[in-house]
Assembly symmetry: C2
Homo-oligomer: 361 residues x 2
């Protein structure tokens, strides 16, 4: 077995020791009263992390991409229009998922590395007043772009269009404020700033979104992701739907405990602080950022001259036990994606990475 | 925290210690060469357990029900016909999933507790020669019925209709022989006889099934479960699709190792042997079986007079730390479902359960 990895790529991040211990706990049944109590606590902790009072806040039994699919297929019916912000891989993925659900997709595009402009969103919403939903990525993991939300949230107020937000990479690492922003459906992943292994997708639906689901004319195309059926298990009825991923729920419960013990503001601040140290170190070494509006937890940086992408990443991994991510799309071969997520956003890790990079330069 | 549970319900079963240890391993990245090597080993181990040479054998990143959905939505297109055997909850669930994929569902029904008769299947296949698929549950977890496969497999030979088989509860606990039976798509779960926590769904697609997927006129409705996209990651290309559930893959790798170290035949035989001990003990105490064609790993039994279902199950759990399952559908309130699955199929557990039952009678 290889040495332990320091996971400084686009996710997964390393799990906290409490989380690994929880994973190894002996199992409980999915209808055991003790397990059901734990589910309630997971939902309550997720409400705190999402900053929402939404009753229907839970974890989809799949990774972040299953969360994306759950968000979209529950609200969309064949023929519906959806407006999607696209400035990287994950906006593009939302278009793919939505069109497979039979929706007509209207893209609001921006160059990779740039934010989606509120003015472009306003125009699209005005041109498509019947759009069932508007979907946006908060933290584009493919580019490191931090999408400003306030102005776009304001645009959506008073419209019938539902606001769907992807916070896979941002949740628990920077401010996510579902109720204040008026977000109707928000999904995330466990393996980024929550620092729980991949396998669950935290998700929340507003009552308005649930009303839209309830008034569908067609069944939700996915039985597995049908929020109406899932409400039977996560709600007070405790109707068996599918067998919950017990060990991953243990892990999420523990991971959210670590997050809330630290406190959200302290955790956000730790991400900002370590990001600043990393940015200074990278720029000093000739790396340059792709994005102007930058995420603290994901740094997409152009390589300095003389650093060969694949070889250098491979040396970081094999000689130093550090994983960083490759660039995607237009940044493939010329950029790295360096993560400072959750448990891993610590000065010591920044120093270790910069030191390892120095041996390559 | 409650005392450790002995999980003798319809699943999950208890995980072997090796599996719990694997769950707690520090993470690797989903594109780390060491992790990719592990994925290859998981696929190879699954081929051995399924008894198949199918290249496209892997684990869906969701529970057994996600495996069911993956099996059906990949092969079905809107307007396709599918013939489904229905004699319990899981056959019924397949109909629901298939109809959400736009398929016309033809049911071959049998009373709960009885097998699907080959003659009924023959009639339905003759009446629906264009049916895209025929789907059957090998081990009905809701009734404890063991479905004979040989005769039905024979019926399907030479037809264009794909054979889809649910082995969620049977795999690694009784003979499952995918290639010999000519099964085209088979899915399972991890939390029954493999004794790995719930969260992954082993699945295998024949080349013939993949040809059907490749010749679709419409995209697979689920992006997350699209086998064409998943092949890019599980195959040699290693294209990022979604982030694999790392820790659960560690656990499955370990759990399959335990299964294969024991040997499939020895494992099947252990299930049969402990099932016989359990059956004798239950019948001695006035329990009677619902099914004539019985599973070794799941015993659906009518309660003797004087045993109050919910109270007795609750006492088993709280006083003895033993979980058994309630009856479903027509058996609700009058039957229990007792599991002897994988790691748990041991004489000592049978004795412990029978002893605990004696304190209730």
């Amino acid at each position: 077995m290889a040495r332990e990895r320091l996971l400084m790529g686009p996710g997964p991040s390393n799990a906290a020791p409490e989380v690994l211990a929880a994973l190894g706990r002996p199992l409980l049944g999915h209808l055991d009263p003790e397990f059901l109590g734990l589910l309630d606590e997971v939902a309550e902790r997720l409400r705190m992390v999402f900053k929402t009072a939404n009753r229907m806040t839970f974890a989809v039994s799949g990774t972040g991409s299953a969360g994306m699919e759950a968000a979209l297929v529950n609200v969309l019916e064949p023929g519906d229009e959806i407006v999607v912000g696209v400035n990287g891989v994950f906006g593009g993925r939302m278009c793919d998922v939505a069109s497979r659900a039979g929706a007509k997709v209207v893209k609001v595009e921006a160059e990779w590395g740039r934010i989606i402009e509120a003015s472009d969103v306003a125009r699209a919403l005005d041109d498509h007043p019947e759009a069932k939903a508007f979907a946006l990525v908060h933290a584009e993991t493919s580019t490191g772009v931090a999408q400003p939300i306030d102005e776009i949230a304001e645009l959506l107020r008073g419209r019938n269009t539902l606001f769907v937000l992807d916070t896979v990479t941002s949740l628990a690492g920077m401010n996510v404020d579902i109720d204040a922003w008026g977000v109707d459906v928000c999904y995330s992943g466990t393996q980024k700033c929550i620092s729980v292994p991949p396998g669950l997708a935290p998700i929340t639906f507003s009552e308005r979104a649930l009303d839209v689901v309830r008034s569908r004319k067609t069944p939700v195309q996915s039985w597995y992701l049908d929020v109406g059926l899932l409400a039977g298990y996560w709600g007070s009825d405790r109707v068996y739907h599918h067998t919950a991923p017990i060990s991953m729920v243990f892990a999420l419960h523990a991971g959210l405990g670590v997050v809330l013990d630290e406190g959200l503001d302290a955790r956000y601040e730790r991400h900002v602080r370590t990001a600043a140290t990393l940015a200074a170190g990278l720029e000093e070494r000739g790396f340059s950022y792709v994005a102007a509006s930058r995420l603290p937890m994901l740094h997409c940086v152009r390589l300095p001259d003389g650093v060969a992408d694949a070889t250098a990443r491979s040396r970081l991994l094999t000689e130093h036990g550090i994983e960083v991510g490759s660039g995607l799309g237009p940044f493939k071969g010329t950029c790295w994606r360096i993560g400072l997520m959750g448990h891993n956003a610590r000065e010591g890790n920044v120093e270790r990475l910069l030191g390892a990079i120095d041996t390559l330069l």
